[in-house]
């Protein structure tokens, strides 16, 4: 009895000592947790500050200092041939203006070509530092999470040791010999397990990317090179970051993006998959990788990742539309294709209703997503009709399952267009089928001559179409897309005043008063009535 009690007393003392050792470890890991927490807050604030001051600097350099230089450059260029004094004056002032900013001096300025390298300037002025700080922020946050887990684990070990202390203490007080031994045995077992677990936690290293030499610096350099469109160099820089830290997820994603830009799609897939294997389960990575898979016609992998992307982030409207597109090109039944587009449409309707209910405007990214989706479908339609402006990603021979279905795809595109406009202007999806009918748009120059292409100094165009079933007062909307992006400055929204049927010519100037020329490239024009798509046309500005 006496010996048993002494043994228990010894064990209790040992457990108490172990608790104090764990308390030390816990204290140290809590200290590291606090330090990492402080660091990530500091980096976060510094990122914000650097972003604002860096933008202010570059905005000044590009919008003010370079403008002054261009002002004198233009004056020097436009000076009369015989006005040598004028040309010399403006040339001298132009050269003096270069002193206002490092952007107009080597290495950012090429005196031969008289051009500035704004991308390199931005990268070296602040973007590389910004990338470095952002990565340090992420690394500190991850380190904080790891230290926090360790601290919590020690708390559990201490709790278990306290339980064992309680059991050992109880063993001394019990009268029944068997129960005394049982309690002592359980107490000892718990103490041993808790001690072993505590040692295991202590021995587990915490990885902090900030302490890996060259990893974050190489990554930041890669980001700077990507900004300058130097993709091959960026790939090398990201490779260095990966060599320094083989589990550096961001570096794999960076290298995948560089490979994608270089059209090395197998390498982009390999790095994207590696990033996913290392634990990046974001919908952004899944959908980016899904698009790369689609471009190499690995539709099963692409669909799997798009489905994962919308599961991870159900509010990712692009992913639904891309999922629909890939289902379409992979030859899936139209019902499945529609299901994906309908999910995206339902999401857009919900977000619009929510924003309107709270008194706000729907997010503009919705319209971008709709535009992208319908433009993709329009490209497919052109491909299926073997139009020269068809899709480069999915050529005609890859769309065997869709041959003969151009009209169905086009109808889907028109539905998306109508939905986007209805949501934007009226907040609800279209409720009835359109009654009016429009012929495809014809484009005429200011002298009313039908043409497919125009000179860039043309400032006024006429859109001509035959129509029926219209009534005055209906809302007329005309949208212009230049190389796939809407030129909102050209958008027309007015009440219809041309009667029920006939032929109409609508004058469109390239800006208020026709002061600026149309941009060069392919224009697509679309007409909507009361939110419903009616017709489209296209022209080229050379």
């Amino acid at each position: 009895m006496e010996t048993f009690n002494r043994l228990i007393a010894f064990l209790i003392a040992c457990v108490a000592a172990m608790i104090s050792v764990i308390a030390l470890w816990q204290s140290n890991s809590a200290a590291m947790d606090a330090q990492a927490s402080r660091d990530f807050q500091r980096y976060g604030l510094e990122v914000l500050g650097l972003r604002v001051s860096g933008d202010a600097r570059v905005n000044f350099d590009y919008n003010r200092a370079v403008s002054v230089w261009q002002f004198f450059d233009l004056l020097a260029f436009n000076a009369d041939q015989d006005d040598t004094a004028g040309r010399a004056r403006y040339a001298a002032l132009r050269e003096a203006a270069r002193q206002n900013t490092p952007l107009l001096q080597p290495p950012y300025f090429d005196p031969q070509a008289q051009t500035e390298d704004i991308a390199r300037y931005e990268a070296e002025r602040y973007l590389i530092n910004l990338a470095r700080l952002t990565e340090q922020f992420s690394a500190a946050l991850r380190a904080k999470e790891s230290w926090s887990s360790k601290t919590n684990a020690y708390a559990i070990h201490q709790t278990l040791l306290s339980v064992s202390l309680f059991l050992l203490g109880l063993a001394v007080t019990l009268a029944n010999r068997f129960m005394r031994r049982l309690f002592a045995a359980i107490g000892m077992l718990i103490a041993l397990l808790a001690t072993a677990a505590a040692f295991s936690t202590w021995a587990t290293p915490i990885r902090d990317l900030r302490q890996v030499p060259d990893a974050i610096d190489s990554y930041a350099e890669g980001i700077g090179l990507m900004h300058q469109s130097r993709y091959e160099d960026a790939r090398v820089a990201f490779g260095r970051a990966i060599s320094a830290a083989p589990d550096y997820i961001s570096a794999y994603i960076g290298r995948a993006t560089a490979a994608d830009a270089l059209d090395d799609l197998p390498a982009a897939i390999a790095d994207g998959e590696r990033a996913r294997a290392l634990g990046d389960t974001s919908s952004q990575l899944a959908s980016s990788l899904a698009w790369v898979y689609a471009r190499v016609y690995r539709f099963e992998d692409s669909l799997r990742l798009y489905e994962e992307a919308v599961r991870v982030n159900p509010d990712e409207i692009w992913a639904y539309f891309d999922l629909g597109l890939v289902r379409l090109v992979s030859g899936a039944p139209l019902g499945q294709v529609r299901a994906a587009y309908d999910q995206g449409a339902a999401l857009a309707s919900r977000l619009t209703a929510e924003r309107r209910a709270s008194g706000g405007a729907p997010p503009s990214y919705l319209w971008d997503a709709f535009d992208d989706a319908s433009i993709q479908l329009d490209r497919l339609v052109r491909t299926l009709r073997e139009d020269e402006l068809g899709d480069e990603v999915f050529p005609f021979e890859q769309l065997r399952g869709l041959h003969g279905q151009a009209a169905a795809v086009e109808a889907l595109s028109h539905e998306l267009k109508s939905l986007a406009v209805s949501l934007e202007y009226y907040g609800v999806p279209p409720t009835a089928l359109p009654i009016a009918k429009f012929s495809p748009l014809r484009v005429l120059d200011a002298e009313a001559t039908l043409a497919e292409s125009f000179a860039s100094d043309e400032t006024v165009l006429l859109l001509q179409t035959d129509y029926s079933g219209m009534r005055d007062g209906s809302d007329l909307l005309i949208k212009f897309f230049n190389e796939g992006t809407e030129d909102v400055s050209l958008r027309v929204f007015e009440a219809w005043r041309h009667g029920e049927s006939g032929t109409v010519e609508i004058e469109v100037s390239s800006s208020e008063g026709g002061a600026y020329a149309f941009r060069t490239g392919l224009y697509v024009v679309e007409i909507y009535v009361d939110g419903q798509f009616m017709a489209s046309g296209r022209f080229i500005v050379e």
Partner: protein
């Protein structure tokens, strides 16, 4: 025999006192470690507040300074133009009144524009050679802010690190105190011949732990 019992009693009383002492000192050490940990948290908070203020100042100062510099650049653009035009006008033959009038109109326009922009920056930062001391303006604005608020996080972070180190060392000092309890228990439990060595080791650990505690608590302030 009674003498042995009395010695035994005294020994047990001594052990009880030492165990109580180790426990009390251990609790005191834990409290001081907690206080140091708390102080490090407070210092971290002060440091982060300073970083916030500093980054806010840097961002606002950059926006304002580049606006001023932009106004200066525009001012110089028109002023330099006016000076050059003036020089050309002065060099004209006296009878070329038509060109002189044209140049004068341009000079007036340039001077008017430069006068407008001149009001939008502080001359304080224009150097004698005519250049603009942008860095000087940024530094002055920052110094002005620093007089009103703490923008220097480094001392607070250093203090936080110091208090964290102190807290860790104090936790470490508690270990010999806790281990001394094992030896005091062994001194009570083991046969007579082991008692004194166990007691001595326990006392050494108790004294060592206490000394370490006092050293770290008093030297890191």
């Amino acid at each position: 025999m009674p003498e042995t019992i009395e010695t035994q009693d005294r020994f047990e009383v001594l052990l009880a006192i030492l165990i109580a002492l180790a426990t009390v000192i251990g609790a005191f050490v834990a409290w001081r470690a907690f206080v140091a940990g708390n102080a490090s948290g407070d210092a971290d908070f002060m440091g982060i507040s300073a970083v916030l203020a500093s980054e806010e100042a840097r961002a606002i100062n950059a926006v304002n300074a580049y606006e001023s510099y932009g106004a200066y650049v525009s001012y110089r653009q028109y002023r330099d133009l006016a000076i050059r035009l003036q020089a050309e006008r002065d060099a004209l033959p006296e009878d070329d009144t038509l060109t002189a009038a044209r140049l004068q109109a341009q000079i007036d326009l340039a001077l008017t524009a430069s006068a407008i922009f001149q009001q939008r920056f502080s001359r304080q930062f224009v150097l004698r050679d005519g250049s603009y001391n942008l860095e000087g303006q940024l530094n002055t604005l920052y110094a002005d802010q620093a007089r009103q608020r703490n923008l220097n996080a480094a001392p607070s972070f250093a203090e936080a690190d110091k208090q964290r180190t102190k807290s860790s060392w104090l936790q470490g000092a508690a270990i010999p105190l806790a281990v001394s309890l094992i030896f005091f228990t062994l001194a009570e439990a083991l046969p007579k011949r082991f008692r004194l060595p166990m007691l001595i080791i326990g006392v050494l650990l108790l004294v060592g732990g206490t000394a370490a505690f006092l050293y770290f608590d008093l030297s890191i302030v």
